[in-house]
């Protein structure tokens, strides 16, 4: 079932109803690796319910930015505000518990495990029963797993991967692995979902499917999404607002139309003549 649905029917309107208060705010973030400045004094916010994209040429610092949000990198300067409070320095798992889930540019799934088990790992942060109860799979542990499995099955149904439920991830084609990664991130029931190049290396049909899933996730679960993507068509169609980075600096911020007409952005993407 490779339904191809015209993207235009989904085009979001920033009508204020869908997009709510500020969920996350980055204030003057600077990130250095020794002498190299990966990110220089960048500020932007992500509002509840929106699809926010970060774009830029290779090496612009997009993935570093996502890693700052997910707590993997700690910026030397600047503040990260999440749900109205300044976030102290945190380990990635603590960030995850706060309700931020992510996918990776280079798929990071457990190859030997089934799709179902991989997605179940997404719910680890939500599991409460102790090691002992889980080892014997008894009483509350059994009830808990049933409840988690139910949620996971809803996600499997949502992403239309029923047919590969029991298939080891290592045997899947690339496009499906990407979808499983999205499923695992969704299993954590995140407030904010970070997608690192969800469409990279996909063919047109897989891209269209993935677009549909991202929009449906945003629409059905109300999940806020921040994504990095190279495919301009995809970004412009999906996003409510776009941040443009170049050499670690922010050179544009606004709706897809505003960004498209921004001279600095055009220069960064098309190059400028040096005459």
């Amino acid at each position: 079932m490779n339904a191809q649905i015209p993207l235009s029917s989904y085009t979001m309107t920033a009508d204020g109803r869908k997009i709510g208060a500020v969920l996350m705010e980055m204030k003057n973030i600077t990130l250095r690796f020794g002498g190299v400045k990966a990110i220089t004094d960048i500020s932007f916010d992500i509002r509840e319910g929106e699809i926010r994209s970060i774009i830029g040429p290779n090496g612009a610092g997009k993935s570093s930015m996502l890693n700052v949000i997910s707590g993997f990198y700690v910026p030397q300067e600047g503040e990260v505000w999440f749900r109205g409070a300044r976030r102290p320095q945190m380990k990635p798992y603590e960030v995850a518990r706060q309700g931020i889930a992510r996918t990776f540019q280079n798929i990071a799934l457990f190859d030997g495990m089934s799709v179902l088990d991989n997605i179940m790992t997404g719910r680890l942060t939500l599991m409460k029963t102790g090691l002992l109860a889980q080892s014997f799979w008894w009483g509350s542990a059994e009830r808990e797993e049933t409840a988690h499995r139910e949620k996971v099955e809803k996600i499997i149904d949502f992403l239309e991967i029923q047919a590969i439920r029991k298939t080891p991830v290592g045997r899947l084609p690339y496009g499906l692995k990407k979808r499983v990664e999205l499923a695992r991130a969704l299993a954590a029931e995140p407030k904010l979902l970070l997608l690192d190049e969800p469409m990279a290396g996909m063919n047109v049909e897989e891209k269209e499917d993935m677009c549909r899933f991202i929009l449906d996730v945003n629409d059905e679960f109300g999940t806020t999404i921040a994504l990095i993507e190279h495919d301009m068509g995809v970004v412009m169609d999906l996003s409510d607002r776009v941040v443009v980075m170049d050499y670690g600096k922010k050179i544009g911020d606004g709706t897809p139309d505003e960004v498209r007409n921004n001279q600095a952005v055009i220069d960064a993407y098309l190059g400028v003549s040096h005459e």
Binding site: A3, Q4, P6, E153, K154, D157, Q162, R165
Partner: protein, 655 residues
């Protein structure tokens, strides 16, 4: 033909459902796998849901005589929509879910459908596109809510909401609904099904309650189907077969209809359900056999030996045991051993462990394929039918099964062969009319009720079984006057796993030529084993070694055709392998995957010309349609190969 009276007031599908809710209240009626679990509805529950849905339809203003289109994959809620529409006195019209918008538009406009029940967003989008051009559609109801939040809901509802509303309003509508159900007569339309039509626009076949219920009753008796059968509903709901098996017979006998989770999980679900009554077109059986063979090629040598040895034994005694013919004690013992080691596990893997009655129809099935399944002890039989007959014209009784006949007339059906060789039938299942098309009705069904099938065939004198040769209109003459039956040759070609589809030309010409479609699964696997690299279907299709292999198949077919003196003219002199798969989206096949000969001949006129003018290569451009209706152009250079035909001295002498 005698008009039988309905049994105990059971004049409609809703009446049958009410009876099942009374007599089998807690027996499973519908199962659907969702969220990884089989969800079950008993007859009582299903009946209550259907009534609530019908009252919801009444609340939306469904009138008597309205047409309700139903489009989506097989799901209990869509089956209930059909019955709910019938309860309201409306006529359900199931549509093919993979039809593109234009095809759906023709049908929706032709029957002026007022309600459309859609499975999911994909179908709703199609209806919305159609609504820009036609005005008749008043209400859209959808099952799957995903992605539907932002749509204009002024004339659109989720099925669950319609159901809830119906439940809430039952005081208001209960009496009205009962009155409408009571008003249904035995001769009212039960369903309207559009025939796929190998030529021209689809025709709406109106089948009455009498047609469906009498046919279901007769055929349930024929195969002794009871309420304990399990079937898997996976074939298109718009196809008459699914309507008879999953609706008519299921309601009559009260057995359980199981709906797979999605099209992709059908094989897993088949294994989990283990149906006892199963229908599949030959291509499903062919596909499964091909898969088994491919997997056996990769098995360890000992396993291969085990498989070969026991399958050889099964082919020898399996069919005889099924038919109840005498088999020696040693052979029986060996078969039991084989069952333990090979047949049993294999049947289990295929999901066929519990099949009591299996049918195939629609196309001819290869004798090797047919025998393979029968050898395993699966009671696979053939039937012959069409939409206009409510499926059944002939079928094979247990113990009288052969691969080259289609059996004896079904109970209640009269069959006669006209002087032209065309098969005619008359039965309680004979359709009422083609909707809004009295001319076609009159030319198909004569005043006495005899219907022309359009197929040429004859009864075998020894057995009384019917044998179908070809479509009557396809049977033609070649330039020298000898008989030309393309399908006969095509079927022989298609029995090779490497050949997916074949189209033979030759009417009015001096010799026959053919288009071949390779089967990507089989040929791709063969290429892998032989270290043949290819990057696309087109490249594989044009590979010289593939041509050599196909030439071998064609020449073998030529030898077997030559053995039949009547059809010896149909030997294939030249052939080419097409650069694309024939596809229903391009109009080359019908939705039930039958070859549309004239359209192919028009579209590939340049290729046919090249086949006959002796050229060895031809460049061509082909328009292709993608699943969403967009079009593209495929360019290719095709080779044309010659095939050896045996000397035709006898034929010339005869001519």
């Amino acid at each position: 033909m005698t008009d039988q009276e309905p049994v105990a007031g059971l004049v409609s599908i809703p009446a049958l459902m009410a009876r099942n809710a009374r007599t089998l209240p807690h027996r499973a009626a519908y199962r659907e796998k969702e969220f990884g679990i089989w969800q079950v509805w008993s007859w009582q529950e299903a009946h209550a849901e259907t009534r609530a849905l019908a009252m919801g339809f009444l609340a939306l203003g469904l009138k008597r005589g309205d047409f309700v289109a139903v489009v989506g994959r097989n799901r209990p809620s869509l089956y209930w929509s059909i019955v709910a529409a019938q309860m309201c006195g409306a006529v359900p019209v199931p549509l093919y879910q993979d039809a593109v918008a234009e095809e759906a538009e023709y049908v929706l406009e032709h029957c002026s459908a007022r309600f459309v029940v859609c499975g999911d967003q994909e179908q709703v989008d199609k209806v919305i596109e159609v609504q820009e051009r036609i005005q008749c559609i008043d209400q859209v109801v959808y099952v799957d809510k995903r992605g539907m939040r932002k749509y204009d809901h002024s004339r659109m509802n989720a099925l669950a909401d319609v159901l809830t509303e119906g439940k809430a309003a039952h005081h208001r509508f209960e009496a009205e609904l009962d009155a409408r159900i009571a008003a249904i007569t035995y001769d009212d339309p039960c369903v309207m099904l559009y025939t796929s039509g190998t030529t021209g626009k689809p025709k709406g076949v109106v089948l009455s309650n009498r047609n469906i219920i009498e046919t279901s009753r007769n055929t349930c008796d024929f195969d002794r189907l009871t309420s304990s059968e399990e079937i898997l509903a996976y074939l298109p709901m718009a196809w008459v077969g699914d309507f008879i098996f999953s609706m008519g017979q299921a309601m009559w006998a009260g057995f359980c209809v199981n709906c797979p989770e999605s099209a992709a999980t059908m094989m897993t679900d088949l294994r989990e359900i283990g149906p006892s009554y199963f229908f599949a077109p030959p291509r499903v059986f062919e596909g499964q056999l091909t898969n088994v063979m491919i997997r056996m090629e990769d098995a360890a040598p000992f396993k291969q030996w085990l498989f070969r040895t026991f399958m050889a034994h099964a082919r020898k005694v399996g069919p005889a045991m099924l038919d109840g013919r005498p088999v020696s004690f040693t052979d029986r013992l060996l078969y039991r051993l084989g069952d333990l080691m090979v047949y049993g596990p294999l049947k289990n893997t295929l999901g066929y462990s519990r099949i009591r009655v299996g049918y195939t129809a629609g196309e001819a099935i290869g004798p090797e394929i047919f025998d393979f399944y029968r050898a395993l002890g699966i009671n696979l039989k053939q039937l012959y039918g069409q939409t206009e007959a409510s499926v059944f014209i002939t079928q094979q009784p247990d113990g009288e099964v052969r691969s080259d006949t289609v059996g004896v007339p079904s109970p209640g059906v009269e069959v006669k062969i006209a002087e032209t060789g065309e098969v005619f039938y008359r039965s309680p299942g004979t359709f009422v009319e083609y909707f809004k098309n009295p001319d076609s009705t009159a030319s198909t069904k004569d005043p006495e009720g005899w219907v022309a099938t359009g197929d040429a065939g004859f009864f075998e004198p020894q057995t009384g079984h019917l044998r179908i040769i070809d479509r009557a209109k396809d049977v033609g003459r070649m330039a020298d006057g000898s008989l030309f039956a393309p399908k006969y040759v095509e079927n022989k070609l298609k029995f090779y796993p490497n050949i997916l589809e074949a189209v033979v030309f030759g009417a009015g010409r001096d010799r026959c030529c053919a288009f071949i479609n390779i089967d990507l699964t089989a040929v791709g696997n063969w290429a892998e084993r032989n270290n043949i690299a290819y990057s696309s279907y087109q490249e594989l299709a044009g590979h010289p070694q593939v041509y050599e292999m196909i030439r071998g198949h064609v020449e073998e077919v030529n030898r077997s055709v030559a053995a039949d003196s009547m059809l010896a003219g149909c030997r294939i002199h030249r052939f080419l392998i097409l650069h694309k798969e024939l596809d229903a989206d391009d109009g080359e096949l019908t939705r039930t995957r039958k070859v549309r000969r004239n359209i192919i001949a028009d579209k590939y006129a340049d290729l046919i010309a090249a086949l006959y003018d002796g050229s060895t290569v031809i460049s061509t451009e082909t328009e292709v349609t993608y699943e969403d209706g967009r079009k593209g152009v495929l360019k290719a250079t095709l080779k044309i190969a010659d095939a050896a035909t045996l000397a035709t001295v006898e034929r010339r002498a005869a001519a």
